[in-house]
Amino acid sequence: MPKTVKLQTPLSDADVSVLEIGDTVLITGTIYTGRDAAHKRLVELLEAGRELPFDIKGQVIYYVGPAPAPPGKPIGSAGPTTSYRMDPYAPVLLDAGLKCMVGKGPRGPEVIKSMIKNKAVYLVAIGGAAVVVAKSIKKAEVIAYEDLGTEAIRKLEVEDFPCIVANDISGKDIYQEGVKRYKK
């Protein structure tokens, strides 16, 4: 039976090991955004042996390129982008200590293997529910790669940011299990 789990970032091994696919997770604390272009730069830094613009240990990266913030709001609409485009970069970041990725859509076998190895999880936010997600983001600040516009890395302060567990630390995959259950 899926459960609801509240998590405070940064995350520990104990935090993520209770999660099972289908569980609802409400994240509170600091998380970071990153998508295609930012991932490319982060991985280039790690490969060059240089420091990342934020401490990635125990952290959450949310795959999003938000819409601009309207007056009086911390951020614009901010639903997840499709995750497979980050697959080539994800294992390097997981090896560096990343604990949790949030996006939408299934991950490739290399990423799932790396999640098992690094005790990390992949959560999904609801694609296209971008205003619902934005409501849980209380503060947003660009901390790196401002030149990338919407693709810049942002530090977000979130409260009960809603997600569903798609891959747990044992490598189970909701995209496989869910579809199997309802396929005719």
Binding site: G79, P106, T150, R181, Y182, K184
Partner: protein, 281 residues
């Protein structure tokens, strides 16, 4: 001959960009509510309920339904008795897009070069503009913002006549199966049949402009659309790919004559945020 200053087009396009991104069509809401009733998966029902909430919130808060406010695809039906004056028609449309995306706090998602620089143009131009010359002295403009996630799951296949309708159905259903949760299901599936390579793709895109409330006007094609829709919803992909019965809200087909040697088939996948707004000048 009606004289029309192209500057009159700018505020119309500006408003269409904003309205299309803030206000989902009633047809999408109707279809999701209908599928919600039939949905067996608890997770899927939860996702559908959140999507309905989100449409309401977007309209109330005047925020885009999805942060991917898309490429601005603009369809123009230009009356042949209209004489456009006062400047460049395409530039007027781009100016409307520029203002709409700026003033509406919409995301700018265009890069100037697909491979080498990939530098954001910062104003979401250029729009992708299709103009048809039609009888009359009016201009009908439709803005259909198209997100990247669903567009990336689209495909054109040059099939053989021998593949027949079964081959076409198999290709469309398989395209959706291979897309899984990536294009933000529940999706709308646009199918373009016939014409040639590029016309089939444009037909598929144009088919997405049809309301989900109206069946194909040709009963034979309407039957085929329902058959494909049922096969897609038997795949079990479900909302967001998490499993369930609601994978597609509709299948729309447009077809055209084609060469004796050819049978082009295009599938254009549209996410649940099936956005388009029209206005006549």
């Amino acid at each position: 001959m009606r004289q029309l200053d192209v500057k009159e087009i700018i505020p119309v396009v500006r408003k269409l960009c904003i309205d299309a991104n803030y206000y989902i069509g009633a047809d999408v809401i109707n279809r999701i509510k209908e599928f919600y009733q039939k949905e067996e998966s608890p997770t899927a029902r939860e996702v559908l309920a959140i999507l309905l909430d989100n449409y309401q919130l977007a309209a109330a808060e005047k925020m885009p339904i999805c942060q991917d406010t898309g490429v601005a695809v603009v369809f123009v039906e230009l009356g042949q008795d209209v004489h456009l004056t006062g400047g460049d028609f395409q530039e007027a449309i781009n100016e409307g897009v520029r203002q709409g995306y700026q003033d509406g706090y919409l995301r700018k998602s265009m890069v100037d070069d697909p491979i080498i620089a990939r530098k954001n143009t910062r104003d979401n131009t250029p729009a992708i503009i299709y103009t048809d010359i039609v009888p009359g002295d009016k201009i009908l403009i439709t803005v259909a913002p198209k997100g990247g996630g669903s567009e990336n799951m689209s495909e054109v296949k040059m099939m053989k006549a021998a593949d027949g309708i079964t081959g076409v159905i198999d290709f469309v259903v398989d395209r959706v199966r291979r897309s899984g949760g990536n294009p933000c299901p529940p999706i709308v599936v646009g199918v373009g049949l016939g014409g040639n390579f590029e016309q089939s793709a444009l037909l598929a895109k144009k088919s997405l402009l049809r309301s989900l409330d109206s069946p194909n006007p040709d009963p034979e094609w309407a039957k085929i659309e329902v058959e494909i829709l049922n096969k897609i919803n038997d795949l079990g992909i479900g909302p967001q790919g998490l499993g369930g019965r609601t994978t597609a809200l509709g299948v729309h087909i447009l077809h055209k004559p084609c060469h004796i040697a050819s049978m082009p088939v295009a599938v254009n996948i549209q996410c649940h945020a099936a956005r388009h707004k029209s206005a006549q000048i």
